[in-house]
């Protein structure tokens, strides 16, 4: 998928005006966010599980070379094939090659963010393979020719009438809008035929177990199970970070993933496969391929201040918690990963120059850090990226701060380096703003405060500073 991170501001502004989306997206708070809180409250060792989850991921990422190597060995031992792809292009081409070689006609796709990075479904359809998304949300998005809005609820911004129009070409606005059950049954009918005839599947991997070469898939709908059962070729794609060392780690990781994602104790289906079907089974794929993709992730790994982002298990909890995501929506972020996690990985994976608005699109409220099941300190990483865009990057292309902005902060620093200058600075600001000030507040101010006063009143500088007010009062002013 081609990043369009540079469009953040315009796309965000559009979404802020879209009443239907503003209403639809409320569900991420009332449904998912509250669901996670309830699930956490219902789990007596929740914080312990988070700590353990973080320890497992920290350890895995710190030894990623070892575990990747072990995983590849074990997948091969189980009779599967492993392909390491440096980028999305390489991964996509490899999967298309498999499909050509095996004379594939119909490909069913299970939800996978990594395959979104590859733009896989679109590319395979272009190559002539009937390629259909099977997660209901992804299916809706595919019909709408859009990209996912949310990590676990791709069509969260769509209304029932949107969905009705997508599922039924003849649906008109004058008809009563079908309810969610009717719409789901329409999709069930359409997709069951596809499952029955599919000869290849592409799934993601929620976790890959290094010691056994297994992959674990979590779904509520059952498309993950269909995908690992019906077609003769199963291809699983994963980012290189999606590893856990041991089977036992799944117990912890599944608990925190599922509770954080939907608030459920467990999803309807958790499927663990160790490759192709065993010799005594009646169904199951004859071939298993695992594609492990880099696509910029090593840039996250090599910097100790961004490495933690590879702990992400894609639960979407940070999106649900984020007040900014809930206003600007998923498409504003301009790439596969929206919300706070997107704001820290997209700039590194797709380029900070275009994505320079993403780290600034945050009030640093910390709700994402609080919600993260593996405790990724997202605000801290946003600050690192802001530093790089302001002045810190060694790549001049990435330093996108304006001369004016640099000047403002330089002046600010000079004002802060001595108390008399500080007081003088405040007087200067007060004087400059005096023409705009009425009763201690400004309704309209010149730049750089004009942005604030477009929607809010701005407080005026006080006539006397705290120091001068206290000087008559405190016995000791040091």
């Amino acid at each position: 998928m081609k990043p369009i991170t540079a469009n953040f501001r315009t796309k965000a502004a559009e979404t802020l005006e879209d009443q239907q989306i503003q209403q639809s997206i409320e569900h991420v708070y009332t449904g998912f966010f509250k669901g996670r809180l309830n699930a956490a409250a219902d789990t007596n060792n929740w914080e312990e599980l988070r700590t353990k989850g973080k320890a497992i991921k920290d350890h895995t990422i710190a030894n990623l070379d070892y575990y990747l190597s072990q995983l590849a060995d074990n997948v091969e031992k189980n009779g599967g094939n492993v392909f390491f792809a440096d980028d999305a292009e390489e991964a996509r081409q490899h999967i298309i090659d498999i499909a050509h070689k095996r004379n594939i006609k119909t490909v069913i796709k299970s939800k996978s963010m990594v395959s979104e990075e590859m733009g896989l479904a679109e590319a395979m359809n272009k190559e002539g393979f009937e390629t259909i998304e099977t997660d209901l949300g992804e299916y809706i998005i595919q019909l709408a020719n859009e990209t996912p809005y949310h990590l676990i609820a791709p069509a969260v911004h769509k209304s029932r009438s949107d969905v009705a129009k997508l599922l039924d070409d003849n649906f008109s606005d004058s008809e009563p809008i079908p309810d969610a059950t009717e719409l789901t049954m329409m999709a069930r009918e359409k997709l069951r035929g596809v499952f029955a005839r599919a000869d290849m599947s592409v799934t993601g991997a929620n976790f890959a177990v290094a010691e056994s070469g297994s992959i674990a898939l979590v779904t509520n709908e059952g498309n993950g199970r269909m995908s690992t059962t019906v077609p003769r070729v199963h291809v699983a794609v994963m980012g290189l970070e999606k590893i856990v060392p041991s089977i036992q780690d799944l117990s912890t990781m599944l608990r925190i993933l599922i509770r954080s994602a939907t608030g459920q104790r467990i999803s309807t289906y958790v499927t663990m496969v160790n490759g192709k079907r065993t010799v005594d089974e009646e169904e199951g794929p004859e071939e298993f391929h695992l594609v492990i993709m880099n696509n910029g992730r090593l840039k996250l790994l090599e910097d100790e201040h961004s490495r933690e982002a590879l702990n992400c298990i894609r639960c979407g909890a940070c999106l649900n918690a984020c007040p900014v995501y809930r206003k600007v929506g998923g498409h504003a972020y301009g790439w596969v990963y929206p919300g706070p996690i997107g704001a820290i990985v997209s700039p590194v994976l797709t380029g900070l120059k275009d994505a320079n608005n993403l780290p600034n699109a945050s009030s640093l409220c910390g709700a994402c850090h609080d919600a993260c099941p593996v405790k990724i300190n997202i605000p801290r990483m946003l600050l690192e990226l802001r530093y790089r865009t302001a002045e810190g990057s060694t790549d001049p292309q990435e330093r996108t701060s304006s001369a004016k902005e640099r000047g403002v902060w330089k002046a600010w620093r000079m004002g802060m380096m001595g108390r008399s200058r500080f007081d003088l600075g405040a007087r200067l600001v007060a004087t400059a703003l005096r023409p705009f000030t009425r009763k201690g507040w400004l309704k309209k101010a010149p730049p750089p405060i004009s942005g604030w006063t477009s929607t809010r009143d701005f407080p005026a500088v006080a006539s006397k500073s705290l120091r001068s007010r206290l000087s008559n009062r405190l016995r000791r002013v040091k």
Partner: protein, 247 residues
């Protein structure tokens, strides 16, 4: 194609190292329990499942019900048979597919289902499977009205049925038919996922890990349209858990 060795050496380099270090030397997470501990954990999981079977059966019944299983408590084999027959009748089932779990023989499920006028078949592997047999097996599963299985384990914490597909237990019998019935015997309920994964790991250490595993927790569902939960998308619309009492 990215060469594997090259790829992994780039990872090593990104970690700021020159060679791979064996991480078992500095590991603090659960994955590195000794084989002895793992065996003990697995044994404890099984003996606890037996010792606390009545309590765990009550717990799994409660958890299962909250996530959408229709739970039935059967006092004996005959009772279980008539519960299953009742479900088949209600669904007007013409074709039923069952696994070869021993419990289904014990409750004489074939007789119960046949008495409703439905046809019942056991999924089985005849030893010489090719693509055409696979296609046939798939087609049959997709056109079956009810799938019946035992359970390999259940999990009290989550209301989950665990199945390891193998000969006599196809992957689709619990997935493709619109109704799935699982029959649970006393002593098969584990307390939590910890116990299950301890046993899985023990199997792995002993080289006995099964090719795949499904954890099934209620009917297939989705909330992808306006966040409204709808039961039945790709898997069964309705799932029943028949819990056999102690005898």
């Amino acid at each position: 194609m990215a060469d594997r060795d090259q790829f992994i050496s780039k990872v090593t380099e990104a970690l700021g190292r020159t060679s791979i270090i064996d991480p078992s030397l500095d590991h603090a997470t659960a994955g590195f329990d000794s084989a002895e501990t793992i065996r003990t954990n697995a044994q404890t999981a099984i003996s606890d499942a037996r010792e606390y079977s009545t309590q765990l059966a009550d717990e799994v019944a409660l958890a299962a019900e909250t996530i959408g299983w229709k739970v039935h408590r059967a006092s004996n084999a005959e009772d279980a048979g008539s519960i299953i027959a009742g479900i088949c009748e209600e669904k007007s089932a013409k074709s039923v597919l069952r696994s070869s779990h021993k419990v289904l023989d014990d409750i004489v499920v074939d007789k119960a289902v046949t008495s409703t006028g439905a046809n019942i078949e056991t999924t089985a592997h005849d030893g010489k499977y090719g693509q055409s047999e696979i296609e046939e097996s798939k087609a049959k599963a997709f056109s079956t009205d009810v799938g019946i299985t035992g359970v390999d384990y259940a999990i009290a914490e989550t209301g989950t049925v665990v199945l390891h597909p193998r000969s006599g237990l196809s992957r689709l019998v619990s997935l493709a038919p619109p109704t799935h019935i699982a029959v649970l015997c006393p002593g098969e309920v584990l307390a939590s996922m910890d116990e299950l994964f301890a046993m899985e790991r023990n199997d792995f250490i002993n080289g006995e890990l099964s090719g795949s595993m499904n954890l099934i927790s209620g009917p297939s569902k989705t909330a992808d349209i306006e966040g409204t939960t709808v039961t039945g998308i790709h898997g069964p619309l309705e799932v029943h858990l028949v819990i056999l009492g102690e005898e």
